[in-house]
Each structure stands twice: as C-alpha cells, then as structure tokens.
C-alpha cells in the first residue's frame, strides 16, 4: 500500500449553519484512498461518515461548507470547487455515489433505461441509439435479465434489490474512479444484501474502481473491506486493514463498537451498548471527543486532543493509550477473544 493515493483528504473541516448557529460536522479529518481498494467507514449515526464523503463530490446540503483543509484528486484541490460547473467535471465521471434508499433514488416517471442513458449522454457526449446500446449493456452488467424489455419499464415495476442494481448501473455508467456506497444495503432485504455487495465487488474488479462503503453494519465491513476507518464526532479515530481493526484495535471507541457486536454477546446477558451520547457538535470539543463516554479515560483525554499513533505501517489510532508515557492499558478481554469467536462461527 505504499502507492500514491488516488484521493487525499487532509484536515478537512466542514461546517453547517443551523438556525444561526455553527455546527462543525467534520473536524480536521484526513483520509487517503488508494486505487482499487475497498475502504469501509464505520461509526454511529451523526459521526459525519456521509457528510465527509459527500464533500468529495460537492453534494453537501446548501447550508454546509468546507471551511478548511484540502481534498486532492488528480492534482486538483476539490475543496476549492464552488460552482456547479466545476463539480460537473467530477460527478458521475470521476467520483460517483450510490445512496441508501433505492425506492426513492429513481425518478418514478422516467423509464429505467432512459435514466441510465441520461448519465451516459451527459458525461460521455454520446447520443441516441449508441447511448441506448451502452445503457442496455449497463443493465445487463448489473445483472438485470432481459434488458431490452426492462429498459422500457418504470421504477415501480422493479423490486427494491433490482432498483438498487439500476442505481448502481447509473452510478458506474461512466466508469468513475471512485464509487461511494452510502449504506447501500440498509434499506434492502437481508437476502438481497449479499447479492448487491457481490455485484459491487465484481464491478469494482471489472472497472478498477476504488469503493468506499459507509455503513454501521460491521458484518458488511468484515465481508467486503480491505481497510476500515472508524469515525467518531467528525473525525477518523482509527484506521487500518480490516484484520487490524477487528483483532487489534486500540481506540476505546473502536473497542466499544466491537464489543456491541451481537456475535460477542453472552447468552442471557444484555448486549453491551455504548453509554452516553455523542458530543454536541455545536460546541467546541476539548481533548478526546470520546473521553466523556470512556470509563477508562485518562486525565489527559479531557485536556488535550491525542495525535495519531502508528500501530503498524497500515494501522493508526488517535488515542493517548498508545503514547509511551501512558499507563499500561490492555485491550478489553472481549476484543482479544474476538478472533477466536469470529473464526469459531465460520
């Protein structure tokens, strides 16, 4: 993984103005994406997973703004983009996105085929029958049988899983470098989830895409991701290869997240939950944002924000626990048992 990153976000800060107040949703967040990899971003609701990745293609809501940092892609700083015209050179062509709910992502009054074709026509400058041919190919590629007939159908004639396939076809119709999947399976039936994940994987191989999954389903993460980034309160707190995060995590929030996996539950006992609530992002946060919810927090956690410590070449964690001066803290027992438990299940 010593390759050049394809996209490199550095110290990104994103602020929303809400009812006259400023909410800092992303606080100096950095992330590198490499070509062809699959990264999963996990974290609880409101941790900023979606907002952070949406900023890569200028899809922040109107009241949100990147106020600091840089997002370098192909030698250009995307964080400086302001006009729609600039973003139109990126969206669909270079970076694309699949949203959560396939039931509402398609225009109900437009033929499925036309909606895919539209994307091809805008981005590739191909018109008419040729674009139609590509759209049909795309339909076949995402595993929709009988594309000729399906092309002329409307979204209501498709099931949820089929619609998500169409949404994916639209998103990748112009062969983007990066595909962001924002909880692509949350709204779907469990039996369909695996199919959609497989589809994304095969398209990824075929088109050599980088895929970013945003999810809070750790099962999905374990299945698809090469690397995992854990987000909390607008920051990435730990990032590493999937095994490193699952079996050798160091940030207390990652521990808490993993301990609440149902696989680790003991029969008859309630599942562990993360107590407390995430910090209010309207306020400035002092020290480690997770400290107030962390029972084993160190005194310094409340005073000063920890830097990133390197656990391995591919694994970093933002916690004072890894400072050589910190008192000796062991990973919780359940985390150490995770490997055997998970493997035992398979």
């Amino acid at each position: 993984m010593a390759k050049e990153p394809i996209l490199s976000a550095k110290d990104v800060e994103i602020q929303f103005s809400l009812r006259g107040k400023k909410l800092t949703a992303i606080r100096k967040c950095s992330l590198d994406l490499y070509k062809g990899e699959t990264l999963a971003i996990v974290g609880e609701s409101g941790s900023g997973k979606s907002v952070f990745t949406k900023s890569f293609l200028g899809m922040l809501d109107a009241n949100g703004k990147i106020i600091g940092g840089s997002i370098m892609y192909d030698g250009i700083d995307l964080s400086k983009y302001t006009t729609e015209k600039e973003w139109m050179t990126i969206r669909g062509k270079k970076i694309s996105m699949v949203m959560q709910d396939p039931m509402t992502s398609l225009n109900p009054l437009k033929k499925i085929g036309k909606q895919i074709q539209e994307s091809i026509e805008i981005n590739q400058g191909i018109k008419g029958p040729q674009a139609k041919k590509l759209a049909l190919e795309m339909l076949a590629k995402v595993g929709i049988p009988d594309p000729e007939r399906r092309y002329n159908q409307y979204p209501h004639e498709f099931s949820g899983g089929m619609r998500q396939r169409v949404v994916i076809a639209i998103a990748v119709a112009c062969h983007p470098d990066i595909l962001i999947c924002d909880e692509p399976t949350t709204a779907l039936d469990v039996t369909i989830q695996a199919q959609i994940l497989n589809l994304v994987r095969s398209l990824q191989e075929e088109l050599k895409m980088t895929v970013v999954y945003i999810t809070h389903d750790l099962g999905v993460v374990a299945n698809v991701a090469d690397r995992v980034a854990v987000m909390y309160a607008g920051q990435i707190v730990e990032a590493g290869l999937v095994n490193e995060i699952f079996y050798d995590a160091w940030h207390p929030y990652t521990w808490a997240l993993l301990s609440s996996l149902p696989q680790l539950g003991v029969k008859g006992e309630p599942l562990p939950t993360i107590e407390g609530t995430p910090p209010n992002l309207f306020n400035t946060i002092k020290g480690d944002a997770f400290a107030p919810r962390n029972k084993q927090a160190l005194a310094i956690d409340f005073e000063e924000e920890p830097p990133f410590f390197k656990v391995s070449d591919t694994h970093i964690a933002k916690t004072w626990y890894l400072d050589p001066r910190a008192p000796k803290i062991e990973q919780p027992k359940s985390i150490r048992q995770l490997r055997s438990k998970m493997e035992g299940r398979r």
Binding site: L106, I122, E157
Partner: protein
C-alpha cells in the same frame, strides 16, 4: 381501459339520473301556486287554475310525472322556459348564454394556466428570495381579500387608469370583456402558482434529484427533465375539470359586470320558478362535473405510468 370507461360511464349515468330525480322531486314539492304569475294568481278563479295545472300535467300522480320526465329527458326534450324567456326552448336559452361564458372562461383559463404555472416556476427557482415572497404575497392577498373587493380594485384600475369599458356589452364584446376576464384570472393564477410551486419544491427535495446531481446533471437540466414534468403530473388532473367548469360561468363575476352568461342563470331560474331550466341546468352541471373528473383521471393515466385505471397494476 375500454372496460373501465364503460363501467365508469354507467356509474356516471346513474349519478346523473339520481341528481335529476332529486331536483325534479324538489321542484314538484313547491306549492302549485308557483305555476302562475302574480297577476294570474289574482285574476284566475280556482277552477281556471286547476284546469291549467291539469293541462300542464302537474296534477297527475307523482310516479307518472316522473316517468314522463324521464321519457322526455332521454329524448333530449328539455321543454320550454316559462319565465326567463317565455316559450323559448330551454336548450336555446342556455345555448345563448353558454357561448359567452365559455368564451370568457376559456380565455381566462388559458391565461391563468400559463401565467400561474410560470409564476410558480419563477417562485421555485427563486425560492426564499424576493420574487418568491412577492408571489406568495399575491397568493395570500387574492385568497384573503373578498372577491368583490379585489374585483372592485381591478374595475377601478381598469376603467379609471386604462380607460376600459367597466361593464360588459354585447355590442362591444372585445374590449368590454377585458376587465371581467382579468377578474376571473385573479384567483386561478394564484392557485396555479401555489400548486406549481408546491409540487415543484416537493420534487426538488426528493432523493432522485440528488442522484441526478450525482450523475453530473446541471440544475437547469434537472429542472427541465425531471422536476417540471413530475410536478406537472398532479396538476394535470384538475385541468379538464377546470376547463369544463368555465362553461358554467362565474356567478359573481358575471353578475358584477352584467355579463349575460350562465353564471346567474341557475339562481335566476330558481327564484323565478322556471322548473325546466332548473332541471336542465342541474343535469348539465352534474354531467360536466362527472366528465371533468373522468377526463382528469384519463389524462393522469396518460402522463403517469404508475397509474393503471383498470385491473390490478403494480409490480410484475
């Protein structure tokens, strides 16, 4: 589709028949004195009255009268007007007025559709900015101020400032219809603008608009290709009905500007006991309403692929 149309048509006929029957019976419940003018009431002896009533068939048993009424209606014989234009067939009485109402109404409808929808689009494009607020202020003003007040304002402005004729005249129908038409459009422009804006804003906030942006579409293309068409679909349903209702004329505006249209006809016929006119108008109004809704549904089906009027639609 054909099966559905036939079924719908049959239902409609039943509805019209019920309306006609109720109106007929209501008219017959009035005391027979209504048959005579005041003059006749004073001068005629009771025997003469009975004679005339019998000749008109009004003393026959109710069932018999009703059957006769049905028979005539089916033969499209609506009888003659007795008071409004004595002795003239009802169809002619209505026909003369109908033309005037239809002309004014259609012009007003077309103007308000175009202006209203355009205003709605402008409001959406400038949402929460000055033009949007101006549009909203107009909508609220028109709805909050009683029609007669706003009509008077238009009248004063039109006649004093623009020098237009203040009252409709058959000799000079062109210029003299301008003020009445302007008044007719006032409220409907407001409502078309309101609904257009509302449906467009609704569409704009939907997820598929986000996906269209992610695809790389410009806001302008999205507006034209996605938002406008989708927002227009719910509006389409009401267009045939509003078109047909123009035939019935506007009671208030036509009275206010002395337009000899359909608007005041029904109330006139009722107050003057012109039974045949009342019955015929009721049948016409009921039919117009039913046809309007039906055409709206058909139109809706043509523009919205999700709607299948007959049978069970949905996923295959």
């Amino acid at each position: 589709m054909i099966k559905y149309t036939i079924k719908r048509l049959a239902q409609s006929l039943v509805t019209v028949a019920i309306v006609a029957t109720i109106v007929f019976l209501l008219m017959r419940m009035l005391p027979t004195d209504y048959f005579f003018t005041e003059d006749q009431l004073m001068k005629l002896t009771p025997e003469q009255k009975t004679e005339q009533l019998e000749a008109a068939g009004l003393l026959d048993p109710m069932g018999e009268q009703l059957l006769r009424f049905y028979g005539q209606t089916i033969r499209l014989d609506f009888g003659q007007s007795r008071r409004i234009q004595s002795g003239v067939p009802v169809i002619r009485v209505i026909g003369d007025k109908f033309g005037i109402s239809l002309r004014l109404g259609c012009i007003a409808l077309i103007i308000s559709l175009i202006v209203g929808v355009v205003l709605g689009i402008i409001q959406t494009l400038n949402k929460d900015h000055i033009l949007d607020h101006v549009g909203t202020a107009y909508t609220i003003f028109v709805n909050a101020v009683p029609s007669l007040v706003s009509y008077s304002l238009v009248l004063v402005f039109g006649s004093k400032v623009l020098g237009l004729p203040p009252i409709y005249s058959t000799r000079n129908p062109g210029p003299s219809s301008i003020i009445p038409i302007a008044c007719l459009t006032l409220a409907s422009i407001a409502s078309y603008a309101l609904w257009t804006r509302r449906y467009m804003v609704d569409e704009l906030n939907k997820d598929y608009i986000k996906l269209a942006r992610i695809k790389g579409m410009s806001s302008k293309t999205i507006m034209v290709k996605h938002v406008f068409k989708n927002a227009f679909v719910p509006l389409v349903q009401y267009i045939p009905a509003s078109f047909l209702y123009t035939i019935s004329g506007s009671l208030l505006a036509e009275r206010f500007f002395s337009v000899p249209g359909m608007g005041p006809l029904l109330t006139d016929a009722i107050t003057r006991y012109d039974t045949n006119v009342v019955q015929t108008l009721s049948i016409i109004y009921a039919s117009l309403g039913i046809i309007g809704v039906f055409l709206g549904d058909v139109l809706m089906m043509l523009v919205d692929p999700r709607i299948k009027l007959a049978g069970k639609g949905g996923t295959r």
